[in-house]
Symmetry: C2
């Protein structure tokens, strides 16, 4: 059971978490718990480090920020003891959770589960500090922001846990953003591959690295709400999903910008001459299309992160003479919409369905890219909600109309 | 160099501490630093533990509260790095500072200084978390409130330091409380024995246990201000004090209450029958006098901590029949005033000087007790200031009149 910062934000919520843990124990399960720092604590600690020296030693940064999780482990152990659940806190160095030496963004190298398993066998709930470990030189390390999910999955793998429950402030993974599509449905199950594609296109439920790790070690992950009392979404191996949806979800990312380089001479090596310098400038290029013209030139269109747009234009400007292109067009008003589903592997026609649904709504597709389990299109930003709804309906994902809700302030 | 909570209360003060450390390094000294938690942090952490469960597991309490010092070590190391001083934080378990298993009030058993000395030899300043250590089972332990002084003295002993400088919010040890006697003088040197007697009678400069430890390992301790830039008071072996004052200081304690048990039958074993049950009830009895009457009875007078007064009366009430005393008189309006000085060993007449000085002011002495280097008297509370001033003058401790100060708000 892993509880994030908002789930342990104050003493009342820590008591609530303790009650949740007790219920699992009472149901006969052996449970280990991973906790984040109390919401806000990490931000305060990070700010102190940056205020003292923006170029601080990351080893000392780790010492300071890891204290946040330490506090939560002790408090939760006390709260569990208070309601009669035997519990014991574990810091990263005590387990130990061994990491590499990349302080501030360390990778877990191994976790020794023996001591925790002995605790659990003796009826004691281990409460483990997420986000932290111990580096090869014996100093405290941290896994980078959001790393508590990673801690939980790695620990579940080390303990060979039946399941890794990630308690958070959403109650599962949806077929799309419920704020756009009220008839979006919560998925009972989703495969690692689908979860990864959804995470990388903007569904912020689970950190990408933790999904990768879960897939690697086949850890069954459940995403569920710490505030509501119902099952969440199970992230599992594709084989565990009996009825595979052709499309499991529609995701969107509004963090994109489109660049078109007009009338580049169409000769071998021109793509390398264009994208090499962008890669060297650490600019991540996503979708790429190339239209060959009749006059020996070509138009290259691609997307970059919107934050990188200005820098991309700078790099392109330095290439104007060597590449010999005519002009650069930039458009930040775009959105990438993706349909994701492992069922695509065996079902043809997903792209065709997608294009037809968008055409019916009069939405022009600017760029298309596909992978084994994903089709993405770039459209004008103003079509975001319309396109998401059209595709959600086209792929049969709509659930029943939600009951009318009282207006909340 | 040890800095307490008020000295590291915020980032500005931590920067100030870093500058102090740099100055010592620049002067060619090899320095190790011990720090407390930022002022207020420990209280918050303790409150959380108590709010969750007043009967919390002390091992988890230690995990929670030790995080306070951890934060300060990292922040000070960063602040030192910023001004070009190489530094490295050390937690109790990293040094390691080994303690016994008495969580929440552990005793230091050993400190391995090798790694710290290697750091220092390499020009790196170790910044060590005070107040904490590691218990035999590998869990975090704390030394009890005020334990950072103890950490500093123990570390100084382990490193065979030339001196242990305790930076605090007073600038040294005075001949008496300067708020009562403006002509009180700061002592350049004071012996361990004198410091212990002064600490035990209410001068709250250094924690008693840390003075005991300094005496045991002959650690030279300097008490000085972290806010003002001048020498403090050196606490040293008696042999290092050339000009021994007969009386080095006048201390007072207003935390006492006087009890008189009237007309106890004067037979062997009566004192044991009286004080045995009080000791069993964990009540600490301090000064004791017994007046033998002519009628086969005796009056027993003694002092207890004022907080224990009610419980003392309860215990005595249960003894009325077995002891056969007449009545119990209780007086909380008393103050204990003590003259302390190692010079008493070779100078007779200290008690006589004390009694004469008090008599001249018309102050009645209620109880007297003496030790090798201390004479204490109990007087009515209303005479506190008058008695302290009279004794300060009588023993020749008055310094020059302080310069007139601007009134401060």
């Amino acid at each position: 059971m892993k509880f994030g910062g908002t789930s342990v934000a104050d003493l009342d919520r820590i008591r609530h978490v303790a009650a949740r843990v007790k219920r699992e124990c009472d149901a006969g399960h052996q449970v280990a718990v991973v906790v984040s720092a109390m919401a806000g604590a990490t931000n305060q600690l990070v700010k102190w480090c940056n205020d003292l020296d923006p170029l601080h030693d990351p080893r000392e940064y780790d010492v300071v920020v890891a204290s946040g999780e330490q506090v939560t482990t002790g408090l939760l152990a006390i709260a569990l003891g208070k309601i009669g659940v035997k519990a014991r806190s574990w810091q990263g160095w005590q387990v130990p959770v061994r990491t590499d030496a990349a302080h501030g963004k360390a990778r877990v190298e191994s976790i020794e589960g023996a001591a925790l398993l002995a605790d659990m066998a003796a009826g004691v709930v281990p409460v483990v500090a997420g986000f932290q470990g111990v580096a090869p030189d014996g100093r405290i390390s941290t896994l980078g922001r959001g790393g508590s999910d990673l801690s939980a999955v790695a620990l579940a793998a080390a303990l060979k846990a039946d399941r890794c429950d990630i308690y958070t402030d959403v109650d599962g993974v949806y077929t799309t953003d419920p704020r756009i599509v009220p008839r979006a449905r919560k998925l009972e199950r989703i495969s690692y591959e689908e979860m990864l594609e959804l995470a990388s296109v903007g569904a912020k439920v689970l950190q990408t690295r933790s999904v990768e790790l879960a897939m690697k070690y086949r850890v069954r992950v459940q995403v569920l709400s710490s505030f509501e009392d119902r099952p969440g979404t199970l992230v599992v191996d594709e084989d565990e999903i009996v009825e595979k949806l052709t499309v499991a979800g529609i995701a969107y990312s509004a963090e994109e910008a489109k660049i078109t380089v007009r009338r580049v001479p169409d000769r071998p090596g021109v793509a390398a001459a264009l994208f090499g310098p962008l890669a060297a400038a650490n600019i991540n290029v996503d979708m790429i299309v190339q239209n060959v013209g009749a006059d020996g030139t070509t138009d290259m269109t691609f997307t970059v992160g919107r934050a990188d747009l200005a820098r991309t234009q700078e790099v392109l400007a330095t290439l104007k003479d060597s590449l010999g292109y005519q002009s650069v067009l930039a458009d930040p008003h775009v959105v990438k919409i993706s349909a994701v589903g492992v069922g695509m592997r065996s079902h043809a026609g997903v792209a065709a369905t997608m294009f037809r649904a968008l055409a019916e709504k009069g939405i022009n597709i600017q760029v298309i890219s596909t992978s084994e389990i994903k089709v993405s299109v770039l459209v004008a930003a103003e079509y975001r909600e319309l396109a998401v709804r059209a595709l959600h309906t086209a792929f049969g994902l709509d659930g029943p109309e939600p009951p009318a809700k009282e207006e909340e302030e």
